[in-house]
Structures are given as C-alpha cells and as structure tokens.
Symmetry: C2
Subunit: 154 residues, 2 copies
Amino acid sequence: MADPDVRERFRAFLREQNLPVTSQRLVIGDLLLNAPGHLSAEDVSSQLSEKGQVVGLATIYRTLDLLVNSGLVVERDFGEGFKRFEPARNLPHHYHLTCTVCGSVTEFLDERIEQMIRTAAAARGFVPSRHRLLVHGTCRDCRGAAPVPKRRTL
Amino acid sequence: MADPDVRERFRAFLREQNLPVTSQRLVIGDLLLNAPGHLSAEDVSSQLSEKGQVVGLATIYRTLDLLVNSGLVVERDFGEGFKRFEPARNLPHHYHLTCTVCGSVTEFLDERIEQMIRTAAAARGFVPSRHRLLVHGTCRDCRGAAPVPKRRTL
DNA sequence: TTTTGTGCAAACAATTTGCATGAGA
DNA sequence: TCTCATGCAAATTGTTTGCACAAAA
C-alpha cells in the first residue's frame, strides 16, 4: 500500500536527525507520501481516522513540519486560508490549474514558461530561487453545466 | 491627497448598491486606493490610527470586502498567514517578485508569459479566468550582503 | 533510563459575527 | 424614521505550544 522507497527515505531522515521513528510518524508519512492529491492537515487527520489510525492534530502538524524539512513533502498555499501538502516529486517545477467550479487541481509542466520567468526576473536584477504559478479557470468536465461559478475570493 | 477619480468610483459603487457612504468607508478607500504597496488589514488600521482616523478592525475588514467586490481593490495572499490588499490598477496581469531577504515586492508585466500560460491551460482543456505568478529570489540590493537568507516556508 | 514524542487542552493570530447603539438616506 | 453601519467583544478557524504521561533509543 505504500511505496517502500519514500517510506524508507523518511525513516532515513529521522535516523539521521536522531529523531525517534514512531508509529504515528510512519503512518502520516505513508499517507502523505503516497497521496495523489494535495492534502490539508484536516484531510490527513480524517483520512487516518477513517482507517482507524487516530492521531492527534498537534502531532500531525508536527510531523508535517518534519516531512517538509526532510524535503520529501512540499507545502502549498492555495489561498484557502489553510495549507496543503503534497509529496515532492522530482518534477522541477510544476504548475497548478485550479477549477473554480469543482475545485479539482491539475498539475502541468512547461519548460518554456519556466525559462521565460527566469529571464523576466533576471531582467529586473532579480536572482530567482523558486516560483509558483497558479491558474484559475474552468476544467473540461465542468464546462457546459455550471451557469455562474460561485463567487469566491482570490 | 487622494486621487479624486478612484474615490469617486468607490462612492458610485456604494450608491449603486444603495449602501451608505460613511466617513470610515471613504477614509479606508482613500488610503487603500492610493497606497503604493500591498497593505494588510493591520497596516490599514495602523496607518489610519497614525493619521488620527481610528476605525475598528471589524469595519476595516468589512470595508475591504466592499472594495474587493467593487473591483477597485484586489486581494493577495503571499503565504504570510494573512491577506494583503492593493488597488486594482488597469494592469491586466502583473506578477510579483518577492525578495526573500528584505521582503520587498516588485511588480512586473510580461505579455509573452501571459500568452504562454493561456496556451498551456487551453492545451489541457482548461479555460483560464485568472492566474497568479509569484517569484521568490534575491533582489539586486540584497545580493552580496546576505550570507544565508533566513529559512522561511513556502 | 534518558531523551524525545504524543495527546489534550489552552494559547494564538487573522478574520468573522452578534448585538446594542449611532449615523446616513 | 427606517435602514444599514459601527464598535466592541465574543466566536471561529487554522495552527502552535505547555505539560503530564508514554514510547523509542
């Protein structure tokens, strides 16, 4: 059920840092590192509960910090008022298409956009380290049905 | 001290909506619509206080909502844990360069990036409505001095 | 056995809301 | 006047922290 590779990398990280490898850390790591989507702390909590693996929210937040520090997970802020977390794949930079109707998030990659951003930043005397691109709109599935997408900020 | 044009547009919006034109609404609107930067609700509050125009925080938040709904102001989330607001200039889409050392925010425009984003989204069956691009890095002024920028998330 | 983690509850920060009072139309 | 806004304080939400107890090394 869990990719043994990432699981092992998280254990290795904990050992390197002389941090105890606890069952809750593994359980949270397994869930998040193999999650297809972008989970919030709440999502992690409820998905674990559903599986009968109840872990306190505080522990979840603390473990999310560890995962982010390990580099295995990245933190995302979609402007929803809370953070989401996703496994750090090897994708150098992937962008997000968010559907304003169904809320689905699609990822995509574009070398040329990436290159242009780098160039545009440099032209302004700026040395870029990382960047984020967030596109809002309507996905294929939601087009046609929805009359007026519910008014949401951002 | 305030651009009479945007000020008048806010009044017009209020009148259209049959909403009272109160002194606090005007004062908040004047401040924000003529602000050079990106202000948080706290910023608005403290800047008004400095001018001796004390307005309750609740009213500030309520008025920010109005300004956003009027289309005269846009809301920004830089992942700081709170929102910032800036006047909606006529710039169709401007992007942000954030310096991770001094925190300064520079805006820029790039037609070609914009076009590529549109194309990339369309190629994935997505009709884009708006998008955001956020670039982190080091600005010209901060390069050379800072050894290791303080570790911050996002 | 010593260190570090865990869960709970309290603490926090940004933002929202209920309600009595006060100002615009 | 009648409606809607304001200010205050209490409520809410996402997240963090202190502390007593429990589990890893």
